[in-house]
């Protein structure tokens, strides 16, 4: 292989190779080239997304740590803080779904440990192709098993998530995992190799093998049939070692034995060491032969870029090294001093004393940045040409509602989340199935809520509006359970940035998210970018995933969606401007993904959501639900099903709800920015007083065993439940179908 073939096979462009020559002042050897290849991949270097990510606000009164560290950190109160981050593992999961998903969970847990936090909650956001395809069913089943297989064993509850199915993800599933960790605000560890020269570098955890070599480069390429051949690029997880790693890391930190801590992810020791060195403005020397190995005959370059899982890298003062090794032994983890901090600013690798590579750490951490060409894709105009009146109007809305509730995109997620241990840790106050999960902080009245929200279809039809909508939906979900939304982490899942229409989606989406973050006051404190999500059939929908965290002063004051009592007054809050454009109804019932969804009205979103939050926090409301996919009818059905209590819509309220709209638009239209709450009659006055100028309607009352909207719907709650409680893993007939 000549040199051009070599760097091309490592995913580097001619331009990038020239830049390496310039930075090094000489041709790099294979090890050095490998280091650049992984560190300058999109996964590590954000070379296509960095200018866009600068658009996100990332400061706020509660933000202790914004982007740039292993995870973002926010303050909760009473000295407590939360570290959190979301990360994608899409490409590995496409070829090896169980291990891809499992190691995605393991990896995000280590990011949180590296901040010094104890992982206390996991979430995931998933996308697959339709379940009528066997390969998609296999990917879905194995990804869910992998998430459970790792999360259940490691003892961190999986408390929430999001999953949908669309042909846009056939062959390129999305697997985004999020972890939240709890930490004392004054004990946040930063992954800097400070305290400089003379300190030692200790590797601890599992042994190093050949797994996952060039995994980061693989993750930054399009998926083709050849990807299957790259299965060996996928790492293998060991949750048992992962559990030991959590306990061992926390004990090392508790005993104040570490100067800095960094997890090993993409590009292994080399990447972690160079990041630590670059952040600390120092150099690091590594002795490859000191790394405990799992297999024989590994080359030094393989050792330093291997992505073997369950390992951490620490900087330790020399006099504490023995104590560190002893603690690792207690947890039956391998540990070794593998290097030292120096002042020369280079990442230098030795093999039995022989220098085999040396690169300025700054150069590795400083991937080139590309401002790509932006072009509005042609499909948008066609997609926006949509006339809802051209749709045949269904004559039986009962049947339509049942069909929607049974659709994989709207049915109960119980068959997924019941495979995850959601209660280990004894902190889960609101379990999966609500608008957001709620956890308490032991020994205090404090708590936090967390949600994952994704808006692929909306972003496909309107990337800017969809980006904003994902943030707004997360904000609403947290508000519904009664938490004050604080900050978010994101995963940006997109196609190739080298295609101008693809880059348009990314750029627009980021603008929409950034605007929503500004208006709602929820900065982005960490995140991850996954590009090149393309197969031979094209790119996925532009798909941002938002993981948002909110806090409670008093976690006992929270709400859930299920109706609680007979005779409660059911109240609609916010703007009601339903549209079928881009709705679930349009896709499920009419087989169309078209129209331009309503633009989120961000200031009003904030006003209404903040109101709902304060209604819950003040103890007026304990039943609240965000109206989202499937519109008002599906929201009311979910509240009835979860609570086991029916609801009757007030006859006189039906006409104003319709006000010239077709029944399907009124029942199933979507727009964001509205809620349903329920209160007992004795709190009705308090509610009205608290509402101020926010638009509201008392639309009906809870009670009985039917969901009854006079003239439009009348279905038994048991029938709603039977449709909704679908097992997503059972073999089933093709989805959807069309009217008629």
């Amino acid at each position: 292989m000549n040199i051009q073939e070599t760097y091309t096979s490592l995913g580097l462009s001619d331009f990038e190779y020239d830049r390496i020559l310039e930075l090094m002042g000489r041709p790099p050897n294979y090890l050095e080239l490998s280091l650049f290849s992984v560190m300058w991949s999109e996964h590590c270097g954000y070379k296509n997304s960095r200018p866009l990510l600068r658009r996100f606000p990332n400061t706020g009164p509660r933000v202790l740590q914004g982007p740039g560290e292993n995870a973002g950190v926010i303050e909760v109160g009473e000295g407590w803080a939360l570290a959190f981050k979301m990360e994608s593992h899409n490409h590995p999961s496409a070829v090896e779904p169980y291990e891809g998903a499992a190691t995605g969970v393991g990896g995000i847990i280590r990011d949180v440990i590296a901040m010094g936090a104890r992982p206390v909650a996991l979430l995931n956001a998933l996308r697959f192709g339709p379940l009528d395809d066997e390969r998609n069913r296999y990917l879905f089943r194995e990804v869910v098993r992998g998430i459970g297989g790792y999360g259940n064993a490691i003892g961190v509850p999986t408390v929430g998530g999001e999953v949908e199915f669309s042909p846009a993800y056939s062959g390129n599933p999305l697997v985004n995992a999020m972890c939240v960790g709890l930490i004392r605000a004054d004990e946040v560890v930063r992954a800097k190799a400070e305290a400089g020269e003379g300190n030692l570098v200790v590797l601890f955890g599992a042994k190093t093998g050949r797994d996952g070599i060039h995994g980061a480069t693989f993750a930054s390429d399009e998926l083709t049939e050849e990807s299957e051949a790259k299965r060996s690029n996928v790492q293998v997880g060991d949750p048992f070692a992962g559990k030991m790693l959590i306990e061992c890391s926390l004990r090392l930190l508790e005993r104040n034995l570490l100067v800095a801590l960094q997890d090993l992810g993409a590009a292994g020791i080399a990447s972690s060491a160079s990041e630590m060195a670059a952040r600390g403005g120092v150099g690091i020397e590594l002795d490859a032969e000191k790394v405990p190995l799992r297999e024989e005959g590994m080359e030094a370059w393989e050792v330093v870029i291997s992505e073997s899982q369950e390992r951490m890298l620490a900087v330790v003062e020399p006099e504490k090294a023995d104590e560190v090794l002893k603690v690792c032994e207690r947890y039956e983890l391998d540990a070794a001093v593998v290097g030292r901090v120096t002042s020369h600013g280079e990442l230098r690798v030795f093999d039995n004393g022989e220098p085999i590579g040396s690169v300025p750490a700054e150069a590795l951490a400083d991937a080139p940045v590309y401002e790509r060409e932006v072009r509005r894709p042609a499909y948008l105009d066609g997609a926006h040409r949509f006339d809802p009146d051209a749709l045949p109007e269904p004559d039986d809305y009962n049947e339509v509602l049942l069909r929607m509730l049974a659709h994989p995109n709207l049915c109960s997620r119980a068959s997924v989340y019941e495979q995850y241990d959601s209660e280990v840790g004894s902190d889960t106050v609101v379990r999966p199935g609500a608008d957001a999960a709620v956890l308490r902080i032991k020994g205090t009245k404090l708590g936090f809520a967390v949600t994952a929200d994704v808006s692929g279809r909306h972003c496909y039809l309107d990337p800017r509006g969809g980006g904003a909508a994902a943030v707004a939906e997360a904000y609403r979900n947290l508000s519904c359970v009664g938490a004050e939304p604080v900050a978010l982490t994101d995963c940006l899942n997109f196609g190739s940035p080298e295609k101008p229409d693809g880059y348009y989606g990314l750029s627009e989406c980021v603008d929409g998210m950034a605007e929503a973050c500004e208006v709602l006051g929820t900065p982005v404190v960490s995140g991850n970018v996954s590009l090149f999500n393309e197969t031979e059939r094209g790119a996925i929908y532009p798909t941002p995933a938002v993981g948002m965290v909110g806090v409670f002063e008093d976690v006992s004051r929270h709400a859930t969606p299920g109706f609680k009592r007979e005779g409660d007054m059911v109240v609609h809050l916010g703007d009601y401007r339903p549209t079928l454009a881009g709705s679930d109804y349009l896709e499920i019932v009419h087989g169309k993904v078209a129209g331009k969804p309503e633009q989120p009205r961000l200031p009003r979103e904030k006003e209404y959501a903040d109101l709902v939050k304060s209604l819950v926090a003040e103890g007026i409301v304990d039943t609240a639900h965000d109206v989202s996919g499937g519109g008002l009818a599906v929201a009311l059905a979910e509240m009835s099903i979860t609570g086991g209590i029916g609801m009757t819509f007030d006859r006189v309220e039906v006409e104003p709800m319709l006000s010239g709209r077709r029944g399907d638009q009124a029942l199933f239209g979507e727009c964001g920015g509205h809620f349903v709450v329920a209160v007992p009659e004795e709190r009705w006055d308090a509610l009205q007083e608290a509402l101020g100028g926010v638009p509201y309607d008392q639309i009906g009352r809870t009670g009985g065993d039917r969901l009854d909207v006079p003239g439009l719907l009348d279905v038994a709650v048991d029938d709603l439940r039977a449709a909704h409680e679908r097992d997503l893993f059972e073999q089933h007939a093709p989805e959807g179908g069309h009217l008629g």
Binding site: N152, A153, A241, E332, E418, E423, S426
Partner: protein, 222 residues
């Protein structure tokens, strides 16, 4: 009263069990797997988790841990021992209880709340419940399908050693068995997790009486 909680490398409900023990009013004591001593505890809880990764068979390696020697002595001497979930599996592997836990019949991990019935209150871990009382407990396991040969099942039933029974069987267990005790009735194994419903902040305290029972039993003896 001191209640010990064994901590194997992969235990993950140890902290929950310690928390429940504390809420019940006893002194929680961590028993590290690699130390062959029980630190003068009055009762022992073997908590859930994946003791040694469970790559071979749940609990199969844990039973050889150093802490198990004195624990087996303690159990044989009549000391109250409770195994929960993976802890139940460990007690089965150690032959302190009969039978085995197989893979759930649904072939997948099951995490949900299930209704169960307290069948026997003459064990140190169930004394404060009413016989026939219905309580809702969380389950979270992959291998919770209780199995024993016909003779053993018959013996368990005839001797009144089925302590807890599922009203909604989540895993295919024979005779809906959710928990059993040994002949001397001091060793109890439960598949559901009482420690997870031992705090009103989490919406239910229905499991706390498991830990209060052993306290009451000890009080009666003193």
């Amino acid at each position: 009263m001191r209640i010990g909680v064994t901590v194997f490398p992969g235990s993950n409900c140890d902290r929950d069990a310690l928390h429940a023990v504390e809420r019940a009013g006893a002194t929680p004591v961590e028993l590290w797997h690699a130390e062959a001593e029980l630190k003068a505890v009055d009762a022992v809880v073997v908590p859930g988790g994946f003791s040694y990764g469970d790559y071979l068979r749940p609990g199969a390696i844990a039973r050889f841990a150093k802490v198990m020697g004195p624990l087996e002595e303690f159990a044989k001497g009549g000391g109250p021992v409770l195994g929960v979930c993976n802890g139940f599996q460990v007690l089965l592997e150690a032959h302190l209880l009969p039978g085995a836990l197989l893979r759930n019949t649904g072939m997948r991990f099951v995490s949900r709340r299930v209704r169960t019935r307290i069948e026997k209150t003459d064990t140190p871990w169930t004394a404060l419940y009413g016989e026939g009382e219905t309580i809702t407990l969380p389950v979270a396991h992959n291998e919770g399908n209780y199995y024993a040969d016909e003779g053993t099942i018959r013996e368990l039933e005839e001797e009144g050693r089925v302590v807890l029974r599922y009203l909604e069987n989540p895993n295919g267990s024979a005779n809906d068995i959710a928990g059993i005790c040994n002949e001397a009735r001091n060793v109890v194994g439960l598949m559901p997790h009482p420690e997870r419903v031992s705090d009103p902040a989490l919406g239910s305290e229905e499991g706390l009486r498991v830990f209060r029972s052993v306290l009451a039993a000890a009080g009666a003896k003193v």
